[in-house]
Symmetry: C2
Subunit: 331 residues, 2 copies
């Protein structure tokens, strides 16, 4: 069956508002470092007033992944909800101009477009405070079966468990994809997100609702409630078809049955802003995977994309990833 | 007389919408490279739809200078008009959170907050397309005499000649400043801006309405309609009290009477986005100048600030300039 898209990603459609902050700021405002915390509109206004001058750039985990895939020259689509407001216009402009197919209608009514207030500490770590807003409008109505059926892989973010109705959209998309003979991938998103939805995430893996799992070391340990990486990895191996587990500067491990592929991280000159590292890795991996490259090459593309986005502000590429990959001899 | 502020800057209050673009894009859209072109709202919408994914960050030439002065630890104030709309909120948040005193009321009515659509070509050059919008509301009403009188230097941007009524505000501010025994500075802003208002700019200099002139090499040559730098510099010397002329990687020349101070540019690893180089130079120079440093040290601070902002996206500092200056042993 021909495929119009390499990857469809479905996730929260968010615009990032990024500012530098000292460690003290996090402590004063009771914010858990390096995590994603959900906030309401009142808290959003309070934090924005308190934080420093900001850079505004489109974000959203799965949307970042779609943008990076398009930047590699891949065929990507995205589904996610924004409102017809100025921030929603920014989100739509950026994802469409990246070359991603984005057909979700902007809502005329309801909560404002989502914003994530991201605090980048001097060590380059990012701490996210997300107002979900219009993301809560994502239901199965927004899942276009034609788009899901036309994508080799449908990729979903674990954060979709946060808006109350989005998990219905998630499950419907997975069902359509599998009926069309396609694959379904998920990223576990955040260790606190895993804590909130551990049983459901494990069920998605065990029942084969997802074929490919992306996780970082912290998320994997949270999923299996262990402090030991190898224990967690073997627990995942016993339940999953295949998975890519990232370990920051230690690189990534790809597992499938008894197969282990270990790929080093791509070297960087200096960490500027860790926002979007996992999203970019997933993009590179999926671009390679859906274009018939092996696990090792796919993982190297992921590592390259991650290294690029963490050396700049924001989670979207600063230059075409295809050019970077060609310079590195990876494409 | 005590001074509450080192520098008050007055200018167009603009939010920058910055995207990478190939040289072809400029040609296709008939845009003059490296200049600032004024556009209407229709053209703004057309350009935004055509341009790539954008980074949104507060800008405006004089506002950038105020933000950089505050980042050096200086006492800065800013006057400039935005509307009470989401983009105006972004501008106000960013300048206030930088530590700049900003008291201009956001307009409830009239045109939208100004945006500059900035195209950064692969060589790092920036080309600006500016929709002035609410900047056109700047009149003498917005000039608070108490703030002008309390600032050692009132700094004005040449771009203020573009909104029809702002030059009245400009002249009023200069008059108040001089009555209070303060100094007035101007930046010539852009060689095309100089072409539009050459006679008026020369008059401001010859009549002593401005005490200190900032210009780059292109602007200076445009002012005196000559292709020879030394000819232009001597023509300026004959008319001006003092001036700082920047020459990109060739550094800067400070003139006052027969005094010449030549200061090299600060080395950079690589040009990312030239937006705001002149604004940052003026900030460093003014911070040094208003704090009793000599021309050479003031110019070095300017060169340091310029080098910092052109190695990142956007015209505002990515980290405190005071820290950078301390690391370089300049403060």
């Amino acid at each position: 069956m021909s495929s119009q898209f390499d990857v469809l990603t479905i996730g929260n459609a968010i615009v990032d508002v990024i500012a530098r902050a000292e460690e003290d700021f996090l402590v004063t405002h009771g914010i858990t470092k390096s995590s994603m915390t959900l906030i309401d509109e009142h808290r959003a206004e309070m934090l924005y007033a308190a934080m420093g001058p900001a850079t505004i750039i489109s974000g959203g985990s799965a949307a970042n992944t779609a943008a990076c895939i398009a930047s590699f020259g891949g065929k990507a689509a995205f589904i996610g909800c924004v409102k017809a407001d100025p921030v929603g216009d920014i989100f739509a402009h950026d994802i469409v101009s990246t070359g991603v197919a984005y057909g979700t209608a902007q809502m005329a009514e309801g909560p404002a477009t989502a914003r994530s207030f991201i605090l980048v500490t001097p060590d380059g770590e990012r701490t996210m405070n997300t107002y979900l807003g219009a993301c809560q409008n994502l239901t199965e109505k927004q899942i276009d079966p034609a788009v899901v059926s036309a994508a080799k892989v449908t990729y979903l973010e674990g954060y979709l468990w946060d808006p109350p109705l989005a998990k219905i959209a998630f499950r419907k998309a997975a069902e359509i994809a599998h009926k069309a003979g396609r694959e379904v991938a998920i990223t576990l998103s955040d260790s606190f997100c895993v804590d909130r939805y551990r049983a459901e995430f494990r069920d998605l893996i065990k029942t084969g609702t997802v074929d490919l799992v992306f996780a970082n070391e912290h998320e994997l340990k949270a999923l299996y409630e262990t402090a030991d990486f190898d224990t967690a990895l073997e627990a995942l191996r016993a339940e999953v078809k295949r998975a890519a587990v990232t370990r920051s500067e230690k690189g990534a491990v790809i597992i499938e049955g008894n197969t282990n592929v270990v790929v080093p991280a791509h070297p960087i000159a200096g960490l500027v802003d860790a926002t979007g590292a996992g999203d970019a890795y997933a993009a590179g991996f999926l671009h390679g995977y859906t274009n018939g490259m092996g696990f090792e090459k796919a993982s190297r593309l992921g590592a390259l994309a991650a290294a690029h986005v963490i050396q700049k502000i924001g989670a979207r590429p600063g230059r075409p990833l295809k050019e970077l990959a060609q310079e590195e001899g990876l494409m």
